[in-house]
Amino acid sequence: MTLAPDDLRTAMNDLARTTGPLDPGPILRSGKRRRTRRHLAAAAGAAAAIAAVTGGIAALRPGGDTPVVVSDGKAIQDLDNSLHGLDAGTYEFSLSGAYLITDIVRARVEAAGGYDIEYSSAMSLRRAGTTTYLKPSGAGTYSGPGVLEQLKSAGLPQAEIDRYATGIAQLDGTHWLRVDPQRLIKAAQVDEQSSLDYLAPTPAAEKPDITGADALIAAVTTAERTGDTITGTLDATKVDSKLRLLIDEPASYYGAPATSMRYRATLDGQGRLTGFTLDLPGTLASQAPDQQPEAPLVITITRYDGIEPPEAPQDAEPITDVTYDLLARDND
């Protein structure tokens, strides 16, 4: 047979016609995430990033110190006061639906003695006393069976292969590792995709509340209380994007509803916050026709009392230098 240029054109265009497009929604979100990460990395250097990670950035209430309150003037004050339980630094909570934070299945905070944060990815971060421990998720770039074989086939010296083998083994999800928190932060700042990019802030003496509830409550614009439930709206554009709770530039993503997102808070008998649910707008400004509405952001405080400080995990081993390097890019 002959192959004329037009035959080739036709065949190639036939191939294009049988190729499905990509879903724009996830790509747009990935693009925004990447831009947010780059902004975070560039913003005022590492010190500012560390401050953000440790939750040291306060969100400002819209319109300064005089929030707009409708229906119930006392409700917003009750919301502010509900944070005192979290500020005391002893609580247990879960978190889901935050924009750039992996869902937290259970986090136990006893600020003086430490914390234990378990993520839905199966990664855990724990501080017991003055020592911090990490248990990697066991998933990601280096979890595949052929990784070491690839290194061997690349012709690396045996000593290097052994070094990588140790690091890769430490990421398999069965080891607790003794880590330097500052080096974890540096690994997360490497401009690569890392499981560390999506960790929550860790509690600090000056900021024991890591739930993010304070930033959301600070952005509340309307509140109405019925029993132990407070409902109303908040202005998402006033929530600091460095906290990674909501998408950067929410008005560009959600449109006008970004400034009046509906929330529902619940309090316990002592007026302490037990839950905060933020409904993300169902219709997005940039929504593809087949895109599903986003899941709400949900913070649930399950316990304030009887929290014991976490204990050091048995058989924890020191993390190696190469493991930090692998962690910096384990989500590519």
């Binding site: 047979m1 190639m12 990509l22 449109g255 940039s286």
Partner: protein, 179 residues
């Protein structure tokens, strides 16, 4: 006003992905020979393109992204070679395609597989993207004469390969259409 511009940018970007990404994936697949790898490459390139979308959306965004995809496939060739990898997947992602389409695709990709990277790039840029010989020369950093001779050699190789295949009634024939 700032938000309005940002929303326009996002809408322009999502419209571009919805309407043009299939052709970029085909471009990448023709270059690298693997559809899943092609989808990954195009997705990565688009995420990066979003960072500068406001600067490129009004100035041939398809050309910009397509050049980025070409470069990304070149990088993939290089790193795959360093890793001694050769992916073996051919995973159809469009259910319900007629068998003759799959045969055509396999025949086409099989013939392209026989080409060198440069030959493959020249053929795809010339006959899929319809770039002029001068444009292809500029993109690949080679002379127009080299484009001509490379194209001639590549087509001869592909003819021989397709002659060796038992042709299906539809093999590499059909109405010419830009999708």
């Amino acid at each position: 006003m700032k938000f309005r511009r940002a929303r326009d940018r996002d809408e322009s970007f999502t419209a571009f992905v919805a309407t043009r990404s299939h052709r970029l994936i085909a471009h990448a697949e023709l270059l690298c020979g693997h559809r899943e790898q092609a989808r990954d490459i195009v997705q990565t390139v688009l995420v990066r393109a979003y960072q500068r979308w406001s600067r490129i959306e009004h100035d041939d965004p398809y050309g910009y992204v397509q050049r980025s995809v070409t470069n990304a496939v070149t990088d993939w060739w290089r790193t795959a070679h360093q890793r001694h990898e050769r992916p073996v997947d051919v995973v159809p992602d469009v259910p319900g395609r007629p068998d003759d389409t799959i045969d055509d695709r396999r025949a086409l990709l099989g013939a392209l597989d026989l080409l060198t990277h440069r030959e493959r790039a020249v053929v795809v840029l010339r006959y899929f993207d319809d770039h002029t010989e001068r444009d292809v020369a500029s993109m690949l950093g080679i002379s127009v004469g080299t484009v001509k001779s490379t194209c001639h050699t590549a087509l001869r190789k592909m003819r021989i390969a397709l002659d060796d295949e038992a042709p299906s009634p539809h093999s590499l024939h059909g109405p010419q259409e830009q999708s």
